[in-house]
Amino acid sequence: MRLTCPVCGERDRREFTYSGAAVALERPGAEAMPEAWDDYLHNRDNPAGVTRDLWYHEQGCAAWIVVTRNTITHEVLGATLASEAARAGGGR
């Protein structure tokens, strides 16, 4: 499996550390209700199909990236820097 790091280009999966759905970018505010935190921390769409998830190029450039991927075929459809996704409004 290979992922395309927006900084480094296509690299072997073994350079990356996985960290779950890109929902993690949408952290609720401090005053959010418990349900919002429950959704943020626990509940997931978990699609059988295209998903967006977070990877850390740990053995590479140290960028956190959001990868658009198909969970059935493992096709990689694109990747952006998490910092840019976060600035643009999070995990959606």
């Binding site: 970018l25 401090a30 850390y56 910092s83």
Partner: protein, 976 residues
């Protein structure tokens, strides 16, 4: 026996080898199978379940019968296919799964009991009495099952792993693969051409076919030479592509020639990870058997394999051969045999319309319906419209048609597609992104069609990748059509084998269907069809056809089971190459490592690091003596400990303070320059992740520390928080763990020791508790932190790592002159337990700030990671287990980490569980054993006596619940 003048073996280089103790001669270029056949050895193994005599059936890696063991002692290697083992001088091979000998195998009795050992019999019996399964039945079954044996000794052969990248990977170097490689390489693409055989050429080596007017084998040799001379081509022989993975990644196993593997420094093989933008699957096709009664006797072989033995190895597999088939492969075999001067007793063709102009007894519209022979084939029964005839023969060549080798195209769980004309499954299109199948692997069975398909595929790939292709001609070769008539099983009495290795017969499949194991997956799992070392390469399609028949469905509706990597079995040692012993993970050494080892300190692993356990001195015979001394040393004089393994992270930028406020529970932005603060980090789920210190070196520069174990996790977390949650903050992170060698200098004499070393001395006023700043040692700039993990007046001093070794030696020798010295992890642990300081024994991932009594450290003034989740009712429940210390008050003065706590008088059962012990030690300072642990509502239970039970180690005692901080609770020694 050998056929004069035939074959590609090196007749000038004879070699001798042994099989089952007997010496034989072969030639370089022989496989074990070809050499044994040349020597007239026909029985080479026993089957898995019925222990039936078995002989060589194929000429490739798909061989189901001829599994042998090579070598002795640690070099013993079981389950090798005799058809791929290269014969060499001194090769030592033996048969397996038989006792006492291949000829007289006791378990051959199983064959007589076959009616009771049919499909799934073991699910229906062996249930009484219950305990007999482990004691009686299972040991017997285990001993009878299995094939070869491992030696039990550590494997001494070395493999290696490597990566390679290319534009095009061509799998298989037969006519298709050679042309595909040529087409792409001529256009300028980087090409890897891989083939599992020792010699490229594929079927061209086994046939009498000519290409462009020269013998196929010679054409192949010239083509390979041309390719190998191109700088953009890598020809990899003895290299089996074993798996297709995502984004063009392929696994491959390269086996090294014996002589090269024996060179110093060399390996026996390489496990490759190949990365290819495109792939041409040119893996050819495998011939399949036909099920008829007793079709498993030694001497029954595949028709194509017989040709290979004749043409490639110059071996006649028998003196009198019957050829049987439902397609032209049988005719080609008969022709080659005749041409080689081997007697062909009959050609049996199930196609009633077949014709033949060869000079031999021809039986069109007939079938082989049985065989006879004790340990090997003696005669064959042929059934035709005219009745049955029995013909003497010692070899029966069978062709049931060809199955394209589409396995790799199906490794991503796609199913192959049935082709009713070819009576075969073909690779599905696009099932492996970037892969196209060509030639026989795609169902094109003439040589000319393969050559053309290969060239077309190679050139198309090249153009797709942006290379320009020129004109290349397709070489001339035979272009005969493929004609086949369905024939999967020949009706009749007696068992007809499908899966030769697992002893699955037509009856087993029919019985499975009878018992409602009608799904192909159920049939497979119930009968074990296709689960043997050949993974059904020889048998699956025929078994499907039988199941389809038994269930009244067609073959495509019946479907196939899933194709899974690896294509050929791969040694664990190859895929795990380099991981034995210390190679399993990198080793991290502190700068004091050599000096510490020189002082005889036993090393323990801390993550990837090595740290000293204790520093034994002359006269000390037990670790406790050393540990107690080191504790006392720190409490009364001064101790030195390398703490470089703790993570150190530079946090810089205008928003550094704000960033730290967000990741720590407490305020860090209010910390004064030159000061240090203890901090707690939570995970977002509200539990404690790590603790450490944060030092403000300058207005916009903090240096934080992490525990040794969590350094990587914390760095990843901080990068996440910064990049993914707070990219607005102008802050930069850099790990400086390795830049600095850092040493704890702890004890009442610590300042005196340091002042002897520093260019300018420090004092309490300039350097109070929790101060930090720059100092100099011999002109070298160093960082000093007045922090303590022992409860003593203590410092940590950091120097550029190049000076670490020198500074450690200097510190220790000066400490020794002051009745102090180095201390290790054991003493460090005792010192912190006495002081109630926590480590990951306490913050083990399930504890909250509330549990460890630090809930007030979660600042109410700001948000931070984990704050919201930490406020969940379940995480602040008063009944939660809370950190306490314990001291034994019963008769047994012992506390064991891992023991559980109960109310005094309660039984030690789960319902009554009150908590557990996390850390324990003998405290030389307090003069008794102490422990730390978690106790339900523990903070409210000081002074209470609880029962500590350790079933595992037989300990049961009473403990008093005491405050976690036992030593110097008001902290006077830290500050003094």
């Amino acid at each position: 026996m050998r056929i004069e003048g035939k074959g590609l073996i090196e007749r000038g280089t004879p070699v001798s080898f042994t099989f089952d103790g007997a010496r034989y001669q072969g030639y370089e270029g022989d496989t074990l199978a070809s050499a044994l056949l040349a020597n007239g050895v026909r029985m080479v193994g026993r089957s898995f379940k019925y222990h039936r005599p078995r002989g060589v059936m194929t000429a490739g890696s798909e061989e189901p019968n001829a599994l042998v063991t090579i070598g002795l002692g640690a070099a013993q290697e079981p389950n090798l296919r005799a058809t791929t083992v290269e014969v060499r001088e001194g090769l030592w091979a033996r048969s397996q799964n038989r006792w006492p000998t291949l000829g007289y195998d006791l378990l051959a009795l199983n064959d007589l009991a076959a009616p009771f050992l049919g499909a799934g019999f073991y699910y229906k019996t062996f249930m009484w009495p219950r305990r007999f399964w482990e004691r009686v039945y299972e040991p017997i079954i285990r001993r009878a099952a299995g094939l070869g044996a491992l030696s039990g000794a550590p494997d001494e052969d070395r493999y290696e792993r490597a990566f390679a990248h290319c534009d095009l990977l061509v799998i298989g170097a037969g006519p298709t693969g050679l042309m595909a490689a040529l087409g792409a390489a001529k256009a300028g693409a980087d090409v890897i051409l891989a083939d599992e055989d020792t010699t490229p050429g594929g079927r061209l080596l086994a046939e009498t076919i000519e290409v462009d007017g020269v013998a196929g084998a010679i054409w192949a040799k010239e083509m390979v030479a041309e390719l190998a001379a191109m700088p953009n081509v890598r020809v990899m022989t003895r290299t089996a592509i074993t798996g297709a993975y995502d984004q063009g990644t392929y696994a491959a196993l390269e086996t090294r020639p014996y002589a090269m593997a024996r060179r110093p420094g060399a390996t026996v093989g390489t496990f490759w990870r190949l990365v290819a933008r495109r792939t041409v699957l040119a893996a050819g096709a495998l011939e399949r058997p036909i099920a008829f009664a007793n079709n498993d006797r030694p001497g029954v072989m595949m028709a194509g394999a017989v040709r290979a033995y004749v043409n490639r190895w110059g071996v006649a597999p028998g003196g009198s051969v019957v050829v049987f088939g439902n397609n032209d492969s049988a005719h080609r075999t008969a022709a080659d045999l005749l041409e080689a001067g081997v007697h062909v007793a009959a050609l049996v063709d199930s196609r009633h319309y077949a014709t033949c102009d060869l000079d031999l007894p021809f039986y069109p519209g007939a079938e082989v319906c049985g065989t006879q022979g004790r340990r090997a084939l003696e005669s064959v029964t042929i059934r035709s419209a005219r009745g049955e005839v029995r013909i003497r023969a010692d070899c029966l060549a069978v062709s049931g048609g060809w199955n394209p080798s589409m396995h790799l195209a199906c490794h991503m769980t796609a199913r192959p597609v049935w082709n009713a004309d070819l009576l075969a499954f073909l690779p599905p299109d696009g099932a492996v992104p970037g892969m196209v199948a060509a030639g026989a692997a795609a169902g094109e069975f003439s040589t000319r069609a393969c050559l053309a398909a290969g060239l077309r595929a190679g050139q198309e790939v090249a153009r797709d990748l942006g290379f320009k292709t020129g004109d290349l001609a397709v070489p001339m070769a035979e272009d005969a059509p493929y004609d086949i008539f369905p024939l999967w099983q020949v009706p009749g009495r007696g068992r007809a084998w499908l899966d030769f290795q697992n002893d699955v017969t037509v009856k087993d499949v029919e019985q499975a269907a009878l018992e409602n194991f009608r799904s192909v997956e159920h049939m497979k799992r119930y009968t074990t069809q296709g689960m043997a070392p050949d993974q059904g390469k020889n048998s699956n399609v025929a078994a499907l056809a039988v199941l389809a028949d038994a269930t009244g469905r067609g073959i495509p509706e019946t479907g196939t089971t899933t194709f899974r990597p690896p294509y050929v079995p791969v040694p664990i040692a190859a895929m795990g190459a380099g991981a034995s012993g210390k190679g399993f993970a990198p080793e991290r050494h502190t700068t004091s490592h050599a000096e510490t080892e020189q002082r005889g300190a036993p090393m323990i692993e801390a993550g990837l690091w090595y740290r000293p356990s204790y520093f034994s001195r002359p006269g000390e015979t037990h670790w406790r003596q050393s540990c107690d001394r080191e504790v006392n040393m720190v409490r009364h004089a001064v101790g030195v400990c390398d703490v470089s393994t703790l993570g150190k992270i530079d946090i810089q930028g205008p928003d550094a303070g704000a960033f730290l406020d967000f990741v720590y529970t407490s305020m860090m932005s209010t910390l004064a320059v030159g000061r240090v603060r203890y901090g707690l980090m939570l995970r977002e789920d509200g539990h404690v992740m790590d603790d450490g210190t944060s030092a403000r070196l300058a207005e916009n520069h903090y240096l934080i520390t992490t525990t040794t174990a969590a350094a990587g996790q914390v760095m990843r977390h901080l990068e996440f928080v910064h990049q993914a949650l707070r990219p607005d903050l102008d802050v930069r992170l850099a790990s400086v763990t390795e830049t600095w060698a850092q040493f704890a200098v702890a004890g009442p004499k610590s300042r005196a020791l340091l002042n002897g070393l520093l260019d300018a001395p420090v004092d309490d006023a300039r350097f109070p508790y929790m101060a930090c700043g720059t100092v100099h040692i011999g002109g070298i700039s160093a960082r000093l932190f007045r922090i303590s993990f022992s409860g003593e007046h203590a410092y940590e001093i950091a120097v550029p790592a190049r000076y670490g070794a020198a500074l450690f030696t200097e510190l220790v020798s000066r400490a020794e002159a002051m009745e102090g010295g180095a201390y290790g992890m054991e003493a460090l642990n005792v010192l912190r337990i006495e002081k109630g300081f926590i480590t990951h024994a306490e913050i083990h991932g399930r504890t909250t700030a509330f549990d460890i009594g630090m809930q007030r450290m979660i600042s109410a003034k700001k948000d931070c990671i984990g704050k919201a989740a930490a406020a969940r009712p379940g995480l602040v429940d008063e009944a939660r287990e809370q950190l306490v210390a314990l001291k034994p008050v019963g008769a047994v003065k012992e506390i064991l980490a891992g023991a559980h706590l109960f109310n005094a008088g309660d039984p030690a059962t789960r319902d009554h569980d009150q908590g557990y012990v996390t850390s324990a030690c003998y405290s030389p300072t307090l003069g008794h054993v102490i422990g730390l642990g978690f106790l339900k509502a523990g903070r409210a239970r000081m002074g209470e006596r609880v029962r500590m039970v350790d079933h595992l180690r037989g300990s049961d005692t009473l403990c008093e619940v005491i405050e976690p901080v036992q030593f110097d609770p008001d902290g006077g020694r830290l500050r003094g």
